[in-house]
């Protein structure tokens, strides 16, 4: 249930993001989810891709600082209140959310979260019948 997320350090310079997408595209790596956290001088690009280990290796060889982080991905119904239930479940279980990003297509929504304790979060969510995606379901 743990999903490997890539984080790439990007300076705020034109062409850096396209360099990442070029390297991944040319090597046949599919991007399932993506978010950028930005500051005035740099950004952190967070990615879920089809082959995390290979993508990390490729990006490092192309001169990027990359790390792999454990995240989880919730699969919730695309209806009002479901996200709230999931977050409340985590907060009741003493889990902090460091950051999250989400996308909804059709009936369901995927919510990617970096939490203070991924294993504990998975246990709590499963106990509360909240569906989680595995990495092979992401790609």
């Amino acid at each position: 249930m743990i999903i490997k997320q890539l984080t790439v350090f990007l300076e705020n310079k034109s062409g850096r993001l396209s360099e990442v997408t070029r390297v991944l595209g040319e090597n046949n790596i599919n991007i399932s989810a993506l978010s950028i956290a930005d500051t005035s001088e740099y950004g952190l690009l967070r990615l879920i891709v089809s082959d995390g280990e290979k993508a990390t290796d490729l990006l490092k060889r192309n001169g990027f600082s990359v790390n792999l982080t454990d995240v989880i991905c919730l699969n919730v119904k695309h209806t009002p209140g479901t996200l709230h239930d999931a977050i409340k479940t985590l907060s009741n279980g003493g889990i902090d959310i460091e950051y999250m990003y989400a996308y909804a297509v059709g009936d369901n929504a995927a919510v990617i979260m970096k939490v203070s304790d991924a294993k504990e979060a998975i246990y709590i969510l499963t106990q509360n019948n909240i569906d989680l995606l595995r990495s092979d379901e992401m790609a």
Binding site: F9, T39, N67, T69, K114
Partner: protein, 437 residues
């Protein structure tokens, strides 16, 4: 091993006799053969006879890099060109290059002091030395090469650059020693890591590093990452090149080949000689050189001298490892800043790669200092707050060491230019602006 027991282990008293005699000869040589020195001495009312020994040295005028430039190219040579068998030049990053010349005897001295240096670093006949100093006008490449041949070492004249081939040869040849600049050593270490080569599997045991000031923390970093002993060699082309002084295995100061190069320490501001143990600018008088003898040449390097005999058995005076040059010093808002201070702070935080760049600028008549630091995997965080915390930590450490405000900027890895020779650590935009105005 001590290459030249006679001169390297001489009593202080005997050394002084050698130096007195050689100084008298040098003063005569420059007085009768170099118009520049004759005029300077005449202006001071000095004749060669007035210099009887080392104690008379302070009577003589100084020589500076500008004097070499003003007499470009061969104006300070003390011998007809037919006797000059080699020319070297130092990097002319500011203005004209500095030209130096060697007679056959000078080349022999150069080889002699390099052979002494390599021996002190534990290199001998059975070693394979990969000489990664640049061959060409720079004294490092050929200087080390001839000295290594004199010693009987197997030399691989690979020169600087071509880093993948350097690694290939390290593996295939079983190279045991390397000579290179400290900044290139770090680049080499990175390349080893990228190529997946574990330095533990190499036979490399010692590196001889020089041509740029480097700190103790950088030494530890190199020793750790390359799994070697890192020995400091010092020299400057004006005096001869690398081999003017060398660390022994004690790594406690660099032994000066003082039977050839006489060192003094002066206060760079007042130019007065300083007593042993006090830090100041290193000044050399060559005692045996024929083509380009120099009197009281101001090196701009800051150090101290120690006349105590060393545990290695050598009695020659030792200079402390140079970590700054009086002309490397930046004055930012009236505060003296050395790039080596920044390097020490970064390495001691153990949080960043040792690649950094200082950018000094003047905004609204106020000096600013920006330090670019590469984000490498060890320090990398996937959270903004992690990186902000790191930036704050570096900023605070730099500010408390330098006593001025610093802006730290994190940049992508490999974006600060790597050097295969001397590293560029500072961009002073204030100077560029002055030059253009």
């Amino acid at each position: 091993m001590i290459w030249n027991q006679h001169y390297e282990c001489m009593s202080r008293e005997d050394m002084k006799k050698v130096q007195d005699e050689r100084l008298r000869q040098t003063v005569e040589r420059v007085y009768y053969n170099v118009e520049f020195y004759r005029r300077k001495m005449q202006a001071l009312g000095l004749e060669p006879y007035d210099i009887q020994g080392i104690e008379d040295l302070p009577k003589l005028p100084f020589t500076t890099k500008d004097d070499l430039r003003d007499n470009y190219p061969f104006g300070l040579f003390a011998t007809p060109m037919e006797n000059v068998m080699r020319i070297h030049a130092s990097s002319g990053t500011t203005g004209k290059a500095t030209i130096v010349g060697y007679t056959r005897h000078d080349v022999d001295i150069f080889s002699e002091v390099v052979a002494r240096s390599l021996s002190a670093a534990g290199v001998g006949k059975n070693d394979i030395l990969q000489n990664a100093y640049g061959y060409g006008l720079f004294t490092g490449g050929l200087g080390i090469h001839y000295g290594a041949e004199k010693l009987g070492v197997t030399v691989v004249p690979i020169s600087a650059g071509n880093t993948k081939k350097q690694v290939q040869f390290l593996m295939d040849f079983g190279t045991t020693a390397m000579s290179l600049t400290p900044s290139y050593a770090l680049y080499l270490a990175e390349t080893l890591e990228e190529m997946g080569v574990d330095p533990k599997n190499l036979k490399l045991k010692v590196g001889i590093f020089g041509a740029e000031p480097w700190t103790e923390s950088m030494r530890r970093e190199i020793e750790k990452r390359l799994q070697i002993k890192a020995i400091d060699i010092y020299g400057l082309s004006e005096i001869i090149g690398p081999g003017v002084s060398i660390e022994c295995m004690e790594q406690n100061g660099l032994h000066i080949a003082e039977d050839h190069f006489f060192p003094e320490i002066i206060d760079p501001a007042t130019k007065e000689p300083l007593p042993p143990g006090e830090e100041g600018e290193l000044v050399f008088t060559t005692l045996t050189k024929e083509a380009l003898p120099l009197i009281r040449y101001r090196t701009r390097d800051l150090t101290t001298l120690d006349y105590q005999p060393c545990n290695c058995g050598r009695t020659t005076v030792r200079m402390k490892k140079c970590t700054g040059r009086s002309d490397d010093m930046l004055i930012i808002r009236g505060v003296n800043v050395f790039p080596s201070q920044v390097e020490s702070v970064l390495l001691e935080l153990n949080a960043t790669s040792p690649h950094y760049l200082l950018i000094v600028d003047r905004v609204n008549n106020l000096d600013t200092l920006e330090v670019l630091v590469e984000v490498d995997e060890q320090i990398f965080s996937d959270e903004i707050k992690g990186l902000e915390h790191l930036t704050r930590k570096i900023t605070q450490a730099l500010e408390s060491t330098l006593n001025i405000a610093v802006k730290v900027k994190l940049v992508e890895p490999q974006t600060i230019a790597r050097s295969e020779g001397k590293a560029t650590r500072v961009i002073d935009k204030r100077k560029l602006k002055e030059d253009h105005s």
